[in-house]
Symmetry: C2
Subunit: 342 residues, 2 copies
């Protein structure tokens, strides 16, 4: 079979040109305000409704605000943005639809559960690196209360949460991806490895970490195989929201394939919260978890040169309340991008 010039191995692409992350904007809620990344988050609120009258409207506000902060910080007019690549966890992605309406920017709506941050940056970078656009914005969000209502029980029900459960981050991160390398460039996206759906039969909707770990393992293994690399060639291999339980499963699964990432694996879900002090179960989760951690914690370190090369792979659990109630398992998916210091 004839491959195109940029296809690498089974699932990866080497972008013809780097796509530069030239700006970011992030916002988060009360729980995140008490966490270790608080000081690096652009905007924090102790009101998790952000002045809105529903949890869904609050999440829409998060996306709107993350993009507003991004445009303001980077001195970009919204009319310069060619495309929005956006998504969230809610049914029919309503946080994005209602949050991004006012920007009047052509929109590609995405759904990859909590992996959507990686999916949006993959497609955004592919569009930029091939010259189809000069500036795009990738934005994703999640909200603890809207997610609990969407996937499990409304908060008012007072359901107990097992230790394996993760705490959906109330937050949104937006990223400006550009063809031009500006003076304020944060990182370059140079390679993309796209995940496939992996189902290991996990049926517990309070253990998303274990549902997603096989997909993360598959994408990491495939990425390393496609490019013929060792895990040690990355400063960090960063998953989106496996939490403590899922991270252990990931390391075990890869060890079983002879791949050792124990020394340089990091998970956004165990970074954004203080697991011991904050009673968040296994860690943080949601599209907002990877997005806010990328904006607040990861990109500044790549920009400074402290980290030279990072494999960043948000992880998603592909369930709905309907599929769960119908007794189906929870397949996972994980989309990876390579972030490099420039």
């Amino acid at each position: 079979m004839k491959k195109s010039a940029f296809e690498v191995g089974r699932s990866s692409a080497r972008l013809p040109m780097p796509a530069y992350i030239s700006g970011s904007g992030c916002i988060a809620g009360s729980k995140e305000s008490e966490g270790p990344l608080a000081r690096q988050i652009d905007h924090l609120s102790t009101d998790d409704k952000f002045g809105m009258d529903s949890w869904e409207a609050a999440e829409s506000f998060l996306q709107k605000e993350a993009v507003r902060i991004l445009l303001e910080k980077s001195g970009t007019d919204k009319r310069e943005i060619r495309y929005l690549f956006a998504g969230d966890l809610l049914g029919q992605s309503i946080a994005s639809s209602f949050g991004l309406l006012d920007y009047e920017i052509p929109l590609f709506g995405l759904y990859g559960a909590c992996s959507t941050c990686g999916e949006s940056l993959s497609l955004g970078a592919m569009t930029i690196a091939t010259g189809l656009a000069s500036k795009v914005v990738c934005v994703t969000s999640s909200h603890f209360a809207s997610a609990e209502k969407e996937f499990r029980f409304p908060l008012e029900y007072g359901a107990q949460r097992p230790k394996s459960s993760t705490w959906t981050v109330t937050g949104s991160g937006a990223f400006l991806v550009t063809a031009e390398r500006s003076v304020n460039v944060l990182a370059a996206i140079t390679e993309v490895t796209t995940g496939r759906i992996i189902d290991m039969g996990i049926k517990d909707n309070s253990n998303m970490g274990c549902a997603m770990a096989p997909a993360a393992a598959d994408t990491i293994r495939q990425h390393l195989e496609d490019f013929g690399r060792d895990p040690q060639e990355y400063d960090w291999i960063i998953t989106g929201d496996l939490g403590q339980v899922g991270s252990k499963a990931l390391i075990d699964l890869l060890a079983g394939k002879g791949i050792d990432i124990s020394a340089n694996h990091m998970d956004c879900g165990t970074t954004i919260f203080d697991i011991e002090k904050q009673q968040v179960g296994s860690g943080g989760s949601g599209c907002g978890c990877a997005a806010v951690t990328l904006a607040a914690h990861i990109l500044p370190r790549i920009k400074s040169g402290e980290w030279k090369r990072v494999l960043f792979l948000p992880t998603g659990a592909l369930l709905s309340k309907t599929s769960f109630n119908e007794g189906l398992a929870v397949p996972g998916i994980a989309h990876a991008i390579v972030l490099e210091h420039v």
Copy 2:
């Protein structure tokens, strides 16, 4: 602002190379079996559950089967497919997640409501035309019963349907998009105009046609402006699923801007069903409506040269039962591609 080489006007891209639609596969259910396109649909079933035990599983089967038919008809091995671009109408896109699981192909999950067929072909064509992949598959689906349950009432409830309502097509269409021009090529995708979210305040979830018409009008107007063309330069301007009510609204909206598409506008929703005989309200709708009509009716005519150039724009209504129950309006979005005879 510096534009990239392929950006045209505000919202369009001229692809650096044509992306060829080299194969299609489609499947539909009982209502479609009685409609005017029945003989051109690859696989029909009078069992709308397709042997499955839930409507959602039936819809997953539709996607799986559409891709299987496509691969078989085009003599393509699934391992040749670089990416799947897929989506559906259900919460968290579970028809795609569970339907496409077994193919083990890297997946970009999309959500654009009933516009997802256009979104998937836009992104698929962009990926192919820039050399990032040599073969991708774009697939979307909808199912009457799973959609009624998801957005309005389960069928068992026996709710009456107003005349303005549309009948969600039970069907799926899959398309093979390639960089190479095969002997069996059906059409070339040469240009893409990406829709933005348009909200005119329509709050009636039984009148999706009027909710989507403003978005269709916006995308058509923008497309013509971007390329400096008249509607008459297309054999047909084909919307996805506006139905009779929405089509009239579209023609009126554009007439108000001095654009007359009354002579060459066609809607998949009024093509796939016989509106008078089949009691489908205003017409067909759903991601499956545009996808099946494209596969069964539009592409054969472009292939034969009967039609030389078509503007194809699936239309989506961005609502969920949550946003509807919270009293929000139904914004629309429409993603256009230009299909040309080769």
